[in-house]
Structure formats: structure tokens, C-alpha cells
């Protein structure tokens, strides 16, 4: 079987200058810096981070040559925990007709991948959720190497005992720990889907309540 290895293609300066370019570190993409060519791509990356069914993803994964000879670079390669590989193209509704959907689907099927289009209005509908997840990811990447298994276990036990608990209460409760560490531990539990929180309607703050109803709880 043919293999297509996804690895983030470096963005040339001309693209950085002509697009609304974003760069940041993420958790599920192991490169030093993930590069996004628009705000909608950035938000889509954040929403992939929030999805516990996503194992890893790569933005700007590869450049392929379609049977027609056209060079094509999709926006995301996503691997789900089931092993399924999906290639996403983030597009505006106006540009949708110009996307090589049939050719790309046929081409990627030969590599065992699926091809999907995502429209930007659908992403911007979940803007606040994406912004909240970006805030979470920013804090998590800074403390990636920190060993917090014991603190996470204690936080999980406390939340299961108390029910919905504000983040501020957790910081006060574990006052012998640094507030950064408590927040990182709670965020890791959210990221792993072992805790849940209402991130769709409220901006994240110390008043945000975490609950034991995570996706994998």
C-alpha cells in the first residue's frame, strides 16, 4: 500500500505576508510551532485540540499532485483514536465550488484517507469555544514537562466529590501548590476529557466551573 507521510510544510515568507498568518505551539501537533494560514484555520486547530477523539493532527501536511496535474495542498491531516485518517480543507462558502473535491477524494482514498471540506461559518459559530481552548493550550504547552499526576488525581477526586467546582476554588483549595500548577492540572484533565466545563457559552476565567462530566469520564 502506498504511504503518504504528513509533515508540516514550512510557510514561505510570501504566504506569511499575504495571508492572515498565525503561529503557535499546540499539544496534538508535535512540531515546535504549528502554522495556520487564517484565523479560521487557527480556530479549527483549537477545536481539534478540544476533541478527545482526535489523536493528533498536522496543519499544511503535504503537497500532492492530482491526476489532472494540479498541485494541491490541503489544510489539515487528522488522525482519530480509531486509526481513521481524514484530510480537511477549510474553505469559505464562496470558494467551495473551486475545490477539487472529487479528484482529491479519489486520490486520497488510494492512501486510505478520507477527504472533507469544512466551511468557515461553521467554525466561527464556535468562536468562543475555540478561543477558550486556545487559552487552555497556551498554558498547557508551557508546562508540558511538569509531572502533575498526583495533583490531577486529587483534583479529579475532589471534583467527583463536590460536583461542579470553580477553577478559583481549586486554586484556593490546593494553596500549598502553585496556582499555575493547579490550573495546568485542571486543564490537562479537561484536555484529556476526564473533566468537563461549559466552554461554549462563557469565556474561561477563575469562575469557570469544571464538572466530572467529561467526554471520557
Amino acid at each position: 500500500m502506498k504511504v503518504l507521510v504528513p509533515a508540516q510544510l514550512p510557510t514561505p515568507r510570501s504566504i506569511k505576508m499575504s495571508n492572515n498568518f498565525f503561529a503557535m505551539q499546540t499539544m496534538k501537533h508535535c512540531e515546535a510551532v504549528s502554522e495556520f494560514h487564517s484565523r479560521s484555520e487557527l480556530y479549527f486547530g483549537a477545536l481539534l485540540e478540544s476533541d478527545v477523539a482526535v489523536q493528533c493532527y498536522v496543519p499544511q501536511p503535504f503537497r500532492i499532485t492530482l491526476p489532472s496535474g494540479r498541485k494541491y495542498q490541503p489544510d489539515f491531516w487528522v488522525k482519530r483514536i480509531t486509526g481513521q485518517e481524514i484530510v480537511y480543507e477549510v474553505t469559505t462558502p464562496a470558494r467551495r465550488p473551486g475545490r477539487p473535491v472529487k479528484a482529491a477524494t479519489r486520490y486520497l482514498e488510494s492512501y486510505g484517507m478520507m477527504y472533507r471540506l469544512v466551511e468557515t461559518p461553521a467554525i466561527f459559530q464556535r468562536e468562543l469555544e475555540a478561543e477558550n481552548w486556545l487559552a487552555i493550550i497556551r498554558r498547557l504547552t508551557g508546562f508540558r514537562e511538569l509531572e502533575l499526576a498526583e495533583l490531577m488525581r486529587r483534583i479529579l477526586t475532589l471534583v467527583q466529590h463536590l460536583g461542579a467546582t470553580p477553577l478559583g476554588y481549586l486554586v484556593e483549595h490546593f494553596e500549598q501548590q502553585r496556582s499555575d500548577e493547579v490550573l495546568v492540572a485542571a486543564y490537562r484533565l479537561l484536555h484529556e476529557g476526564r473533566l468537563g466545563a461549559d466552554l461554549e457559552t462563557q469565556p474561561i476565567s477563575l469562575q469557570t466551573e469544571v464538572n466530572p462530566d467529561g467526554d471520557l469520564a
Partner: protein, 611 residues
Amino acid sequence: MATWRENLTHDSSLGRIADWPPVSLHHLTADRRSTYQRRYRAVALVLEGKTIEAAARLTRFSKGQVSKLMDRCLGTDSERLHPALSLGLVPDARLSEFRRNPQKPLKGGAGAFHAYLSKHPSIVEALDQMLLGDLKNRADAQRLTPKSFHKEFIELAKRVGTRADEYPFTTHLYGREASRQYFHRRRKELDPRPKRRHFRPDAHRPRITPNEIFNVVELDEHTIDAESAVRLDIDPQRVLKDLRVPRFMLALAVDTTSTAIVGVTFSFSKNPTEYALLRCLDSVENGSRVAVPGWLEPSSFPACLPQDDYQQIRALPGELRIDNALAHYSLHAHRIVCERWRSILNFGIPALPLARQIVEATFRKLEQEIHRLRSTSGTSVTDPNRESKSLRKRPPKVTLALLIAIVYQLVHTHNNKPIASFSNRTPTQYLLDSIQSGWLCRTLPPHVRGQPIWDKQKRCTVRNYGDPHSRINLLNVMYTGSCLTSIYKGQAVIAKYDVRDVRTVDVYTLKGAYIGRLHAPRRWLHHPHTEKERISIYRDHRRMVAQSRDPIGDLYRRHMEAGGKFALKALKMVDDSHSPGLNRIAYSSGIESTERNAKLKKKRRFTLEGS
């Protein structure tokens, strides 16, 4: 034509001076402001019912002056159909459009350019054709600039037979300025293309953001035209030289939520530089404070949230928005933002400065106080108001240190000025209140906290060709040290150094064990110098490097002695290494240093060649 009394009889509401449109006194000079207030009082007294004589006596005007003033404010004539009201109180304000006397000979003066064009319609037609050709991108059309437009205008003037003692040849500088203004105005009028508006939904839509301090920080640089003086010394003779600094670049980082300025720095270069950007990022991370001896106490002079005063609101930006300046593509800066701060770096949408509107608005506010428009205030070479040659030989009384101190004071004032939309709280109070109400604050992880942002590391191989000491090749020179013994020969090591001073580097094994400190060859140890400086000296002055025993000092002296724009290059050398050890900027009055220079010159008979 109607007198002020007739207008008042016709419309009595004109008599309520409190309802007249307000005038921004802030924009008037002190003299004009005082005259405006006297005039206001005089008119108010007359409108209250006092006689003109009484009003004149109380406001120290003559009767005729008060009478003329009343007509100026409330009278109308064929050119002025509506009363000028409060605009009439402003000294020297033009109430009606200027019309040049047609009988006046066309030698120059106000309105000469338009009078000349109305006399020669063929020139107007030819200029319009040129502009239209350029706007429509015609293949045979010239790509016009104000300079080339003026050149064409002069050619046309010669072609229609204008004599050399007539306008525009009599007042060349005025003619050039008038042609520049006409070029821009007429180009706008003739532009056949519909005005395009850049509309990007994700740039204009209001965004709901997480409750995090410094969630979005915008960073930008502007060139500020304000003349000042700086005193540099020529080592080792200790002879001081005063330099005029016509402009400097100010970089600001502004938090969009609170509008607080969280980072500030300045540089002598015209365009943004990598080091200026790094200094601004350093200022965002650690705060900044400037201390000028003898002017203000350092404690009264916090610039933008200095660390010791505002420790609780010290936070890292969530998203840093910068523009497409070339220096912003610095890899070092990218590493700081993305890998050290773990923030989002955004270059913004091209040609859309509105995407960074908060920082642009902050610049507009600051520039009201310090920026001088080049075309109006004598700073441009083409400006007739430019100061005389004899005066220009002396340095300006405002030293650079004082100017920078003023900028920092303005930044401090901005951060501590109540804002109506924040319920009369200052940006600093707003941030403190946000933290009280549970906003999140993201700081550096503990393992990064001690490392300065200026550190850079490179992987090198240890070389030894039978010498007693091993060495590494880095930044064009060999670094040696007793710690680097022959056991490391052929091994890869990590060299870590401060980019502002590359005289020494710390060397580590690949596993992170500290080996020791290496130093550059002796001739590079005289002055601290930056990585960029070393590379550029090797690139541009390789022959001098081969011959000199002190390349940095020699290049610095060479620039200083050459004077003019080269002296500013010397200033930039000092600017880049920015204080550690290189105390070549003397913070004192420029005039004192000139006097001292004269004495020194007399005493030592110092000649430039002798250095």
C-alpha cells in the same frame, strides 16, 4: 452683507455664546490660547449687554478691535454666508477661502500655483493626461511620484514660455511643495477606480475573548520626527562630539482590552530593527523603567508597568499582533513569542492597519505631543522655516535623554489616565480590577524564568590542530578558553551567548553539562558588540578587520570622524549593544558638551587625522 447687530436681531439664538461650537484649546499655542480667552471674554460681555466701550476697557482691547471682533464672529458677507461664531475668536483663523489678487504680479506668494495654472490651462490638461495615464496603468505612461511630477511641471512651464523671473522659477521650494500637494489632491480626484474597501469578516467582527490578562497585545513601530542632541565620545581621546538626532523610532506594545501600554522602546534607526523588536519584547516581559540623572527621580518615572510596581499584573500576551515589517520575521523573535511565551504570533492582514487599531490610536495620541510634521515645522530640508546654518551648527537644547524621558512620562501618563468607558478607571486600575474579578494571568514557566530573552545558542564542533588549547569557530572568529581541553576534540558542543555582547560564550555539552566560558580573540575584547555588528563588520569591512587591532573601536572612530550620516551609524552601533559596558552616550546637555569640546580642542590641538 449683514452686520453682527442685524444678524443678532434676525436670529437671537446666535447671542448664546455657550451654545457656540467648542474649540479645542489643546491645539492652540499658549499665546493664541490666551488671546482666544480674552476675545471670548470681550464677546461674551457685549452679548451680555455691556457696551463695546466697557467690554474693551475690561478686556484691554480698543473699541475698534472689539467692534471688528463682533463682526468677525457674527457678521456675514458675500463670501461668508454664515457667521463664523467661535472660529472667529481663534487668532489668525482663515474664515473664508483665500483668493489671490489678480492684479498682483505672478512672482510667488500665497495662491501663486493655482493662479499660474488658471493662466495656463494647457499645462493643467497635460498634467491631467499624465495623471490619468499613470492611474489607468497605460503602457506608455510614466509611473509618477511627486518628484517626477514636479519635474514634468517645470518642463511644461518652460515649454509654454515662462520666463526665468516668473513663477515657478522665482520660488523653487514653494513651487515644489505646491506641486506635491496638487499631485496628491488631483490624483485622488481623477482616480477612476471605485474606492476599494478591504473587507475581511474576521478582521472587523467583534470577538469575544477569554477573560485573560493581555489576551491580545498589538505591537508596532513609528518614526517620530523630533530633533534632539546626543553626545558621543571618541575613544580613547575622550573628546566628545555632539550629534543631531533628527528622528527616532518608537516601538509600543499595547494591550487591546485595557489599552495599557505594556512595552516601549526606542531606536535610532529609520526602519524597525530586530534588536528594537527584541528590546520591546523584553519590555513586555519584564516592564521598563528609565532613569535620567538630574531630571527626575527614577521612582517617579515608571514607564509601562515596571516589574517591581506592578508585579501582580505582569503577564504574557496571549496573542501578539505585529505587521509585515521585515524585522518582524526575525527567527529569534519568533522563538521568544512561540516557544518561550507559548503565545500566538499573528502578522495580521496585509494593507489593513485597522486590524491593529488600538496601537495606531495610541501612537496618534503620543505623537500629538512629540511628533513634528516635517513639511511644516522646519525639520524638512525643503521647508523655508528651517533654522539658519549658524544655528544648526549648535546641537538642539533638547537632549535625546530628555526627549526619551518625555516619551516615557507620556507612556506613564497614558497608563494612569482615567478613561470614561472604563467607568473613569485608569487602564492600570482596570487590569487590577480584572484580576480581582477572576481573570486569568499567564506567566513564564519556572524553568524559563531565569533565562534572559537575549540568549541564543548554536551547535559547534571543537577543533584542535595540535595547539595547546582547543577552540570553536563561531561568528567568524575562534573562541578559546582553558576549560576547553583536548578531550573535547571533535565533539559537538552547545555555545550559548548574549546577542548584545558576543565577547564571551558559555559552552555546554550536548547533555547540558556546563564546560566553561570561552572568549573571542583579544582584539575583539575592547568593546562589547552585538552578533549583528560582528557579522556586518566582517561582511562590509573585511580588509579593515584583517589589519586592525581593535576593529570595533576603529570602525566607530571612522564613523564619528566622517560625521553626517556616518556619525548616525556610530550612534546605531551604540544603540544596538544598548548599554552593557558601552557607555559612549553621555546623558547631559548638548550645549555644555560643545563648550567642553572647544576647550579640549584648544588644549589638545586634536585633529581628526591624529586619532
